[in-house]
């Protein structure tokens, strides 16, 4: 399940009890009907990816595991779960890894989480051919999406937009000073983002000095009162203002003076307050860039629109890759037949050589080798046709007919053929169940 299907109350309960993934994977490993399994748990999703021997019973087992794990009654949870099979499951995994299924589309963490889940699965020995191949494919898809679309480029929250703008102005944020005027959730978030992106120093100004001190401690910055504001405008490169003041806290004259004293170094003003804190006229000054909350919101809206366009591109990439993966999986169905065909041929060669052992023995060493090469050459030439046809058929729905024909013609299922049908075929029971 994920953030779309399950309310936060259920997600948090499951996440809480699932936060030890190694325990979960050990439990899953012991379940019957599962060949391979991967367990992914993040704050917004809990998913189980499995290659099943028995589809219905396997799914029931996984569901039971989720119910008991989350300590939730089945009926309540049932509606939050989704189950995907075959190509739909492949598509879902690719979309998750490329962050198309994330709450904030394009966020980069999910790929790391999927990689971690895969590592867990490998370490616990629950991954096999199918999961290895599928996950590596998923990582490739995620990379394609990241490099071929601009999905991860745009800032879709006000504080990200502020950071992106600051980078456009200053290049890197290293060594830049942030002046935070007033307090508020949004301005603190923006300040935090700026610091995380390399801003060097923070000055907190507040009408009540105590509040400034409290906030400055949190950011490990300097606290100041409003009276020293002009002084600090000189030092600051980025100013974020969000006070409850009715008038302008920063006037155009203040900005002009500050700019003169800072020798025209660029100044980036962000006004998050309503009513506004910074005189719009300040934005007309050379080398001053003023953005208010509406401007930032506009950028965010625009980016959201772009992201939607880019996500369509990304979906097309995912679709392409789902088809590619399906092609590979289809060849998997004919692989056992091809293998038994080759085994059969080898067995025949071996048997015939044995029969003629008496005269072959008489030959010189090099002639013996020549005979072997000749025999193998003839057999390979003969098998080349059927093997190629099988591989081609696997890509155009002809698989069952061809597999049956080849098995019949070469007596692959008759007595004496050691690789029977039981390990062949049915790999398409790969199953994905997601629940969070």
């Amino acid at each position: 399940m994920n953030h779309k299907t399950a309310p936060v109350e259920i997600r948090e309960r499951l996440a809480l009890s699932c936060d030890d993934p190694s325990r979960a994977i050990t439990t899953l490993r012991s379940l019957p009907h599962l060949r391979e399994v991967l367990y992914l748990s993040t704050c917004n999703r809990v998913e189980v990816l499995a290659d099943l021997q028995d589809e219905t019973r396997g799914i029931d087992r996984i569901k039971a595991f989720i119910f008991s794990h989350g300590n939730l009654p089945g009926e309540e949870l049932e509606s939050c779960l989704y189950v995907y099979r075959g190509d739909t499951a492949t598509r879902h995994l690719f979309r998750v890894a490329s962050s198309l299924d994330s709450m904030v589309m394009g966020e980069p963490q999910i790929l790391g989480q999927v990689k971690e889940a895969y590592r867990m699965s490998v370490e616990n020995g629950t991954s096999g051919l199918m999961i290895n191949k599928l996950l590596h494919h998923a990582f490739r898809v995620a990379k394609r999406v990241r490099t071929e679309t601009a999905i991860a480029f745009n800032a879709v929250s006000v504080s990200y937009a502020a950071v992106a703008l600051a980078k456009k102005i200053f290049g890197g944020l290293g060594g830049k000073t942030v002046l935070l005027i007033g307090a508020g959730e949004m301005s603190e978030l923006a300040a935090r983002h700026l610091l995380k992106n390399g801003a060097g120093r923070i000055i907190v100004a507040n009408r009540t000095f105590e509040n400034a001190v409290r906030l400055a401690e949190e950011f490990q910055g300097v606290a100041t009162g409003f009276d020293a504001l002009e002084e600090h405008l000189k030092e600051a490169d980025i100013v974020i203002s969000s006070t409850g003041s009715a008038g302008f806290v920063v006037t155009a004259d203040m900005a002009r003076n500050a700019l003169r004293r800072r020798k025209n170094r660029l100044l980036f003003l962000i006004d998050i307050a309503v009513p506004r804190d910074i005189d719009p006229a300040a934005g007309e000054i050379d080398n001053v860039y003023l953005y208010n909350i509406d401007h930032l919101q506009e950028i965010v809206d625009e980016n959201l629109k772009n992201r939607l366009e880019e996500s369509e591109k990304a979906e097309r990439i995912v679709e392409e890759e789902v088809i590619r993966f399906a092609e590979w999986r289809n060849t998997l169905e004919v692989v056992p037949t091809i293998r038994s065909l080759k085994d059969r041929a080898d067995a025949i060669i071996h048997g015939e050589m044995e029969k003629s052992f008496s005269w072959i023995r008489e030959l010189r060493e090099e002639d013996r080798e020549r005979v072997e090469i000749l025999v193998h050459g003839v057999v390979n030439k003969i098998l080349h046709g059927p093997v190629t046809s099988l591989k081609e058929a696997s890509q155009n729905d002809g698989t069952p007919v061809y597999v049956a024909a080849v098995r019949d013609l070469f007596h692959l299922d008759g007595p004496g053929s050691e690789s029977g049908r039981q390990d062949g075929g049915k790999t398409e029971t790969e199953e994905k169940e997601t629940s969070s």
Partner: protein, 273 residues
């Protein structure tokens, strides 16, 4: 001569590939393509350097006497200047302006390179190559200052209009652009000034007086005065950003007129071929 022709063609081709690469990188939005284009431009620059050295040794009269040699040298200097900035600041998008510029200059060069240019006697000696070398290097840097200034104004405009236009994501930050503008202005101005002095010394020697109110000289002086003002405003007054960018474009427009336009509208003593 054959060797040189090959070097020239190889350099021209590399400039073309680099130009195409930069333009494609803008269209498909892939940094990797632009990165390759930078390497190709670097290769073009290296081959071009060999070509200039080869020609210098062959003619034995300085690499930058004839008009076509000068064009080729200008392309070389602009590319070199850009490559230096590219390693200092990550401003790859500038290459999308520089590579086509160098390529077009090289195309113009190719028109006249094969014809033997007879160098008039008054252009012999060391002052002329020195004059051409310094003025062209200076002008190449001033071209970069103008390009960076143009990009600065575009980025500034986008930031003030509050909505990003399609390509603004590829523009470097204001700070980087201002730094490029600043540095290439200072160095360009120094080279340009030395070049003018060398020219004046030479003119004093062959014409008897260093200055004669020739239209070419007047417009060059006008451009030089504009650059003096700009350097002064930047260093002493602390101009940054928009005003400086605008003035660097204006000054370059005057300089461009003195380089190319003067010959069309006036007769000048600076015509030698």
């Amino acid at each position: 001569m054959i060797m040189e022709t090959w070097l020239f063609k190889a350099a021209l081709f590399a400039y073309l590939v680099s130009t195409a690469g930069y333009l494609v990188s803008l269209l498909v939005r892939r940094v990797s393509v632009a990165r390759i284009s930078t390497w190709v431009l670097f290769a073009a620059f290296a081959i071009h350097t060999l070509f200039i050295i080869g020609r210098w040794r062959l003619s034995g009269q300085g690499p930058v006497i004839t008009l076509y040699e000068s064009l080729s040298f200008l392309a070389w200097a602009v590319s070199g200047g850009y490559l230096v900035f590219q390693t200092m600041t990550k401003t790859r998008v500038l290459g999308a302006f520089v590579a086509p510029f160098s390529f077009l200059l090289m195309m113009a060069t190719s028109l006249g390179l094969t014809g033997e240019n007879v160098v008039p006697d008054i252009l012999r000696g060391y002052w002329v190559p020195a004059h051409v070398f310094f003025t062209l290097t200076g002008e190449a840097l001033l071209v970069l200052a103008c390009l960076a200034g143009t990009m600065y104004l575009l980025q500034d405009h986008a930031l003030r209009r509050k909505t990003a236009f399609r390509f603004s994501r590829y523009l470097p930050s204001l700070r980087d652009l201002d730094r490029i503008n600043h540095l290439s202005l200072l160095w360009g101005f120094v080279f340009f000034t030395v070049g003018i002095i060398a020219g004046a010394v030479w003119a004093g020697a062959v014409w008897g007086r260093p200055w004669q109110w020739d239209p070419k000289q007047v417009f060059t002086l006008l451009a030089w005065v504009l650059y003096v003002i700009l350097v002064h405003q930047r260093l002493a007054i602390g101009w940054k950003g928009r005003k400086a960018a605008f003035l660097s474009i204006l000054a370059f427009a005057v300089l461009l007129f003195s380089l190319a336009g003067v010959h069309a509208f006036f007769t000048t003593v600076h015509d030698f071929f």
